[in-house]
């Protein structure tokens, strides 16, 4: 994906901290209170106009809409855009499986401080259909309007089948696999519409690696891989007919600032990840649990024409990455996969829901600026001093 350039381009994972006024509206709308919808739309457009320009100013080449138009969260927004499902037993999430059992006192302290959207168990109760056409059109229209006259490209982050329904109950289809494929087919409409509109689509699949810890006790690799295989196949089904170079795939291990000691190792899933028919892969390498995994690319082979977007910025600390560190992280991966095959990225979004904020907004921008500065330094090192 992305044009060939003689430098390291920059992007990020998509969600950005929302302006307080926008959150106020979303909060009211989520509580089914009456709001002035016209005023909300105008504010949304203005907010996305601003955030697109702010990203460009920070030095980001491929920008997002900040996910400002999404309600609930990066994944659960989609439940309002699918027919044939029901959400039952809505509760607040409590966090990881094995990780939580290893650090129970920490989790007991940490999770109540997180403003996480409640969620329920999704049940397939009829044929699953995409019903989000209007909401999606609005996201696209607003974003494209914001991009007018700004010299950047745009991507829209949307949810992968596995992460739309990480744990679900099937009461309609013959089996779980058939249900997954039906969900994938419904989501294809979302992916295709975005690409048809001339934008990059980013498929977010944080739950794919994360479920190893949650549903497979952080130990049962074999069954986890079977579970994941079905999801990856379903995603590829969803991506059928969509040009690979317009698709990027994001995985992470959950963006909580938690120990992450039982995260599945990248080396144990890299083959699955690479089997996703996407032009680029955004993978965490900016936090201390996954930073060492740049070495996976010493042996794993990035398929020809595909790109890697390593996370070289972390949202799990307020300390702003030094641009020299960003450059070091980019250069060592570039030396393994080729300088034309990488873009500078972040570990994850900065605001997985309108109500969540991984770092203060001012720190988020400082981190994105450090990313751009680091990419400039890496460019000088990789192309020689003249190129930059």
């Amino acid at each position: 994906m992305a044009q060939t350039a003689d430098r390291i381009l920059t992007t990020h994972v998509g969600s950005l901290v929302r302006p307080p006024k926008l959150v106020e509206y979303i909060d009211q709308m989520e509580r089914k209170q009456n709001v002035d919808l016209k005023a909300f739309d105008a504010l949304l457009q203005q907010s996305i106009d601003d955030v697109v320009r702010r990203q460009q100013k920070a030095g980001i080449d491929i920008v997002s809409d900040g996910e400002f138009g999404k309600f609930r969260s990066w994944s659960f927004y989609v439940l309002d855009r699918l027919g044939g499902i029901e959400e039952r037993d809505v509760v607040a999430p409590v966090g990881g499986g094995k990780d939580r059992s290893m650090f129970p006192e920490f989790y007991a302290e940490y999770f109540p401080t997180q403003r996480l959207p409640k969620r329920g168990t999704v049940v397939t109760v009829g044929p699953v259909k995409y019903t989000g056409q209007a909401a999606l059109k609005k996201d696209i229209d607003i974003f494209k309007k914001a991009l007018e006259g700004v010299d950047v490209e745009g991507f829209l982050p949307v949810v992968a089948p596995a992460s739309a329904v990480p744990m679900f109950k099937n009461e309609f289809y013959k089996n779980e696999e058939e249900a997954m494929f039906a969900i994938a087919e419904a989501l294809r409409e979302e992916y295709k519409t975005i690409v048809d509109a001339g934008l990059f689509v980013q498929i977010d699949d944080a739950f794919l690696p994360y479920m190893y810890d949650v549903a497979f006790a952080g130990t049962d690799l074999e069954n986890f891989r079977k579970w994941a295989r079905v999801r990856v196949d379903a995603l590829n089904h969803a991506l059928e007919g969509i040009p690979e170079e317009k698709v990027r795939y994001h995985i992470c291990w959950g963006s909580f600032n938690t120990p992450h000691v039982s995260d599945v190792a990248l080396k144990d899933i890299v083959d699955l990840v690479l089997s996703v028919k996407a032009g680029a892969y955004c993978i965490e390498m900016g936090n201390p649990r996954h930073e060492h995994e740049w070495r996976v690319w010493e042996t794993a082979k990035l398929p020809a024409g595909r790109k890697l977007i390593p996370g070289v910025i972390s949202h799990s600390t307020n300390v702003v990455e030094h641009p020299e560190l960003v450059a070091e992280r980019l250069v060592r991966v570039a030396k393994l996969v080729g300088r034309e095959s990488i873009l500078g990225g972040t570990d994850c979004g900065f605001a997985q829901s309108p109500h969540v904020r991984r770092v203060h907004e001012s720190i988020m921008w400082a981190k994105l600026e450090a990313l751009a500065e680091g990419a400039r330094i890496a460019t000088r090192e990789l192309w020689g001093k003249k190129a930059a």
């Binding site: 920490f106 600032n257 936090n287 300390v319 702003v320």
Partner: protein, 395 residues
């Protein structure tokens, strides 16, 4: 310390999260409420014994007392152990404004929120002390307290399996840096008087067979307060005098039993205006200690392992690189710890690297940079990483 082992040894910066029963005593002390002094001493002794045992279990070779015997903070504990000062409450506390540097100006809204939630650096109410004024000759008066700390940790270490033990002590530059001086002719006179007083503490620790770690977080973090408007050259002048004073304090103390810790302030802030290590490495290396403990794990300073590509570590000295960070709850992967050790060992020699942390985990009794469960997981990851690095470096 260095050259005598055929593996990477581990240590850390010293302060560890205090247990609740110990905190209950310290809270009463600080509130000026009555408490059972004998019961406190007993609790302290047991807590130190316990925390030494836990360090050994986690894989720490060179252990500390967790700074459990200290009041107020890593630096201000000295107010209980030094004479010549008077505390006055007629002025507003100086600490906050004294560290208000460029980082705070650039990220004012963040700091506002952060302080609201954590207290300035997570010190909580214990940090609200008055203004300290020098009113007479500065003298070390902490003989009994330092002897108690020495005895507590020595008793804990005996038979624990720890290879060695250290006590963290404050550097002259970090002793009440915001004091008002009504006694000495110049700032330099006061500084050297402090150094003379501190020598007694350092010497007591080393004479007792322990390693003295000299903590000097103020040295590096003052740059952010001074520059701009002042320049790097101004800052270096300021720092040079302080390092001379420290060397004055270290006179006669065997180098191989001392180590020097600097950091850029342990609060979880942006740190975008920290002075680069390359601009002060020569000053740091002037300090007459055997070991140098430096941040290399957090993303503002991680890249500075490369400073050692050009800066030469003097003969007989060793580094204690920070390999795990207190600024995130994410626990470092042991493979990352190993990678960080190995790349540095290849520059300075495998015998000259002792695996360590960026800073302490609890700079005061009530501060806590991460949950204690995470602190222990990070120390275990450090030990595990040192084992992996050992395999790679010694085959």
């Amino acid at each position: 310390m260095s050259g005598t082992h055929d593996r990477i040894l581990t240590s850390h910066v010293g302060s560890l999260v205090r247990p609740d029963d110990l905190l209950a005593f310290i809270e009463k002390q600080q509130d000026g409420k009555p408490y059972d002094a004998a019961a406190y001493e007993d609790c302290l002794r047991r807590s130190v014994a316990d925390v030494v045992k836990k360090q050994v279990e986690a894989g720490v070779d060179i252990v500390s007392d967790g700074e459990y015997g200290k009041s107020i903070s890593w630096s201000r504990y000295i107010l209980d152990r030094i004479g010549g000062f008077e505390e006055r409450h007629d002025q507003s506390p100086g600490f906050r404004s004294a560290v208000a540097g460029k980082d705070r100006r650039d990220f004012a809204e963040f700091y506002e929120e952060y302080e609201g939630a954590y207290g300035f650096v997570g010190m909580g109410k214990a940090f609200k002390t008055g203004t300290w004024v020098v009113t007479g000759p500065i003298k070390y008066t902490g003989q009994a307290l330092i002897q108690r700390d020495i005895e507590d940790v020595k008793r804990a270490v005996a038979g624990s399996g720890a290879i060695d033990a250290f006590l963290p002590l404050v550097a002259p530059a970090s002793v009440v840096p915001q004091r008002v001086d009504e006694y000495y002719k110049s700032e330099e006179d006061a500084l050297f008087a402090i150094a003379e007083a501190m020598r007694e503490e350092y010497k007591a620790v080393v004479d007792a067979g322990l390693i003295a770690q000299i903590d000097d977080a103020f040295l590096a973090s003052v740059y952010d307060v001074m520059v701009p408007p002042k320049t790097l050259a101004d800052y270096r002048k300021w720092a040079e005098v302080r390092i001379e004073a420290l060397n004055h304090a270290l006179k006669g103390i065997p180098q191989d039993r001392t180590r020097y810790h600097i950091c850029w302030g342990s609060w979880n802030g942006p740190h975008t205006n920290d002075v680069p290590l390359k601009d002060i490495a020569d000053l740091v290396l002037r300090v007459n200690t055997g070991g140098y403990s430096l941040e290399m794990a957090n993303p503002r300073h991680e890249h500075e392992w490369r400073v050692w590509e050009t800066v030469k570590l003097p003969e007989g000295k060793y580094l204690l690189p920070g390999l795990v960070s207190h600024a995130t709850n994410v626990v470092e992967h042991p493979e990352l710890v190993a990678e960080r050790i190995v790349r540095l060992a290849k520059l300075v020699g495998r015998e000259r690297v002792v695996a360590s942390t960026d800073c302490g985990f609890a700079q005061g009794p009530f501060a806590r940079r991460v949950h204690p469960q995470i602190m222990w997981a990070k120390l275990r990851a450090l030990g595990e990483g040192a084992r992996i690095a050992t395999k790679q470096l010694w085959n």
